[in-house]
């Protein structure tokens, strides 16, 4: 009895080159992303707490905690508020700034450089600067409001949860909005001018041109901008941590994950929380991308 050895299809030169070029990415992603992801997923079904002996299998207990514990649920809700506020501010403000920059022809590069500046700041530095601005005793914000007669006495901004959430979202959006601006500006610049000229000849108003031409044609860019805004807002950490510490008023899910993992040493709970955060990020991004893809299919 004989066996035929399987024959592998012979790859041509282009295919071999393609594989060779893709190999580093596959290896890096495998080692740094997919490997740890699978490992974390596996470990999240065990109790991994260095302070306790052994690592018994606990099934979905960590996921149940991550979805039922009142403190964790509050952190999820807070993160939801951050996402909503940050995405609205970044998209609305980013679109307005991109449209303005698109109109400007003189000195656009300098304006763009100025707009991009906050994005270049490390998030910790950004939060510390805003912390000085919001400082109740010597902060610029209290000073300006009192000088203009709008408030009397020093306001302690983070004593009120709603105000704290808005301020942290604003600080985060201030840093991240430039990315939205760049993405949308690039999309705007790809729209043929002839379309606007034709619309003008047909008597379309500025709003109609925005609604009928601009928004549909920048939709793919908008999807990318929305996705990145959402993912970064879901992962919001530095601003909330530096401006208001571990306060439950403004504690995001990533802060909760950090505290569970590195302060309380409940590593497997932290892994479960991290994976749920990743799933939430992917799910929301997928909704944006699929929706925009459906609306911009022209075939």
């Amino acid at each position: 009895m004989t066996f035929d050895m399987p024959t592998w299809p012979r790859l041509n030169r282009d295919a071999r080159l393609g594989l060779a070029l893709a190999l580093p990415v596959v290896l890096i992603m495998g080692a740094l992303v997919f490997g740890p992801l699978v490992s974390s997923l596996y470990d999240s079904f065990f109790r991994i707490e260095p302070m306790k002996p052994g690592s018994p299998f606990v099934g979905v207990k960590n996921y149940v905690t991550a979805l039922t514990d009142p403190t964790v649920l509050a952190a999820w809700a807070t993160t939801g508020v951050y996402v909503l506020l940050a995405v609205v501010i970044e998209t609305g403000g980013g679109l307005a700034a991109a449209l303005l920059l698109h109109k400007i022809t003189i000195g656009r590069r300098w304006l763009l450089a100025a707009v991009v500046l906050p994005w270049c700041l490390p998030p910790v530095v950004n939060a510390i600067i805003w912390g000085w601005i919001f400082n109740p005793s010597y902060g610029l914000m209290n000073g300006l409001l009192q000088a203009s007669g709008l408030t009397q006495g020093n306001q302690v901004w983070f004593n009120d949860r709603a105000t704290g959430l808005v301020l942290i979202s604003v600080v985060h959006a201030w840093r991240m909005m430039p990315l939205t601006v760049i993405i949308l500006l690039a999309a705007l610049q790809s729209i043929p001018k002839e379309l606007y000229e034709a619309a003008r000849l047909d008597g379309a108003t500025a709003f109609q041109r925005l609604r009928q031409i601009t928004l549909p044609l920048i939709a793919p860019g908008l999807a990318i901008a929305l996705s990145q805004s959402t993912v970064f807002a879901i992962n919001l950490f530095d601003e909330a941590w530096i401006l208001n510490g571990a306060s439950t008023d403004t504690r995001s899910i990533t802060i909760q994950t950090y505290m569970a993992s590195f302060q309380n040493l409940k590593l497997s709970l932290g892994m479960a929380l991290s994976l749920l955060v990743m799933v939430a990020s992917l799910a929301v991004s997928a909704v944006y991308v699929l929706r925009v893809y459906r609306e911009t299919r022209f075939e």
């Binding site: 260095p50 302070m51 571990a246 590195f262």
Partner: protein, 414 residues
């Protein structure tokens, strides 16, 4: 010389020099310490002069050091040969088995001179050698009290009366300095006030002792909330950490640093660092029983089990514990010596600011947990921080805060 020979020589020469250097130069001792434990250049030079070794000190914030140790140890690597080990981490890191027993590295007579070493003993092992003898003491601005005609308070009622007098005279808008943010400094201040009101946090079985309105812990938090409402504590304190309160004291904005660090007096009384250097004085923590109480928050140097060059740490610890080095560190960094003999000598020659008060307060400074810091301290402390912060903001009342803390402590112990 042809091209190939030239290239070979050019490559080999630097490499041979490099390997030669590696072979002869001693590896610097890697240390991971907070800013207040980081030696000055003069001191690191002195270490080289005294021992022939060199130091490579990485300075990180206190919170960040904890995170770095956790992430490194989970990955079975050591962040440094010697690291900061706070009293509050002993239960956690001891249970995890992450630190070596150092008792063999310190002579018994020296160890006997360091009473706070007991706080770093877990399961019979000495996990850290104390270098900073921190405990809490009240620090006040004498000029403010003089302006108000108030005496140095010894009871909690006298403290309130003095604060009201200072505020009435306008010497300070918010005389009492206490951090109320969701931070460790706010929690430790509440622990101190619990002792000031004559109580403890837990009984011998770790059952909470602070849940009823007549308990010391309850009264302590009520005191903080009431003083805040009365305008004796800055409303901004709900966002202030302990280091921010220290800045307020140095700027002359507050009269009392109620939960002052013993070593910070060296900074408060330094004209180069403080605007109230001449007016900063220490007093025993006020109380309700006639006997002042405090608790120790010492810091130590520990050695992770996976550390390299372990033998070098023995040299460093021996050097660190010499009276000469301890005195120099107190004078330059404000790090209070952990050896009683050194502390006494400092007091005797007049180098120790408010030496008598510090010695008296040190004598009544207890460990926060008589049974040793439990592994669940971090979760408990986190609950204290958030509940205290919420109570100070008026979001919950003190009774609810106490219930939340007790529930969190019970959950953490399971």
């Amino acid at each position: 010389m042809n091209r190939r020979a030239f290239l070979l020589t050019a490559t080999a020469l630097p490499l041979s020099f490099g390997f030669a250097r590696l072979g002869h130069a001693a590896t610097p001792l890697a240390l991971l310490l907070p800013p207040w434990g980081t030696l000055t250049k003069d001191m690191t030079d002195k270490y080289t002069q005294d021992t022939g070794g060199t130091l490579n000190i990485e300075t990180l914030g206190w919170d960040e050091i904890h995170t770095k140790i956790v992430t490194s140890m989970v990955a079975n690597t050591a962040p440094a040969t010697g690291t900061e080990l706070d009293w509050s981490w002993v239960g956690q890191f001891g249970a995890a088995g992450w630190f070596d027993d150092l008792s063999a590295l310190v002579p018994a007579d020296v160890l006997a001179d360091i009473p706070t070493a007991a706080i770093f003993t877990y399961d019979g092992k000495l996990l850290g050698v104390p270098y900073n003898n921190d405990f809490r003491v009240m620090i006040y601005n004498k000029a403010h009290l003089d302006a108000a005609g108030a005496a140095v308070p010894t009871t909690m009622d006298e403290l309130l009366a003095a604060a009201r007098a200072v505020k009435a005279k306008g010497a300070s808008a918010y005389p009492i300095g206490l951090p109320l943010s969701a931070s460790e400094g706010a929690a430790t201040a509440w622990y101190l006030l619990t002792k000031a009101f004559g109580g403890d946090l837990f009984d011998k079985d770790f059952k909470p002792l602070f849940t009823t309105p007549d308990s010391a812990g309850f009264k302590a938090m009520q005191f903080e909330v009431d003083a805040l409402k009365e305008g004796l504590i800055d409303p901004a304190s709900t966002g202030l950490k302990d280091n921010a309160v220290q800045e307020l004291f140095k700027a002359g904005k507050i009269t009392f640093d109620l939960a002052g660090q013993a070593g910070i007096l060296a900074v408060y009384t330094d004209p180069a660092k403080s605007t109230v250097a001449a007016d900063a004085h220490a007093a025993l923590v006020p109380n309700v029983s006639g006997k002042s109480r405090s608790f120790g928050l010492p810091e130590a140097v520990g050695m992770p089990v996976s550390a390299e060059n372990k033998d070098q740490l023995a040299t460093y610890l021996t050097w660190m514990l010499t009276p000469e080095v301890m005195v120099a560190n107190y004078k330059t960094l404000g790090v209070l010596p952990t050896r009683l003999s050194v502390l006494a000598a400092l007091g005797k020659d007049g180098s120790l600011r408010e030496g008598e008060i510090l010695a008296a307060q040190s004598a009544v400074a207890e460990p926060l947990f008589a049974q040793g810091t439990p592994g669940w301290y971090s979760e408990f402390s986190g609950a204290v921080q958030t509940a205290l912060n919420a109570a100070a903001k008026g979001q919950i009342d003190v009774a609810t805060a106490m219930t939340q803390i007790a529930d969190a402590a019970a959950a953490a112990q399971q």
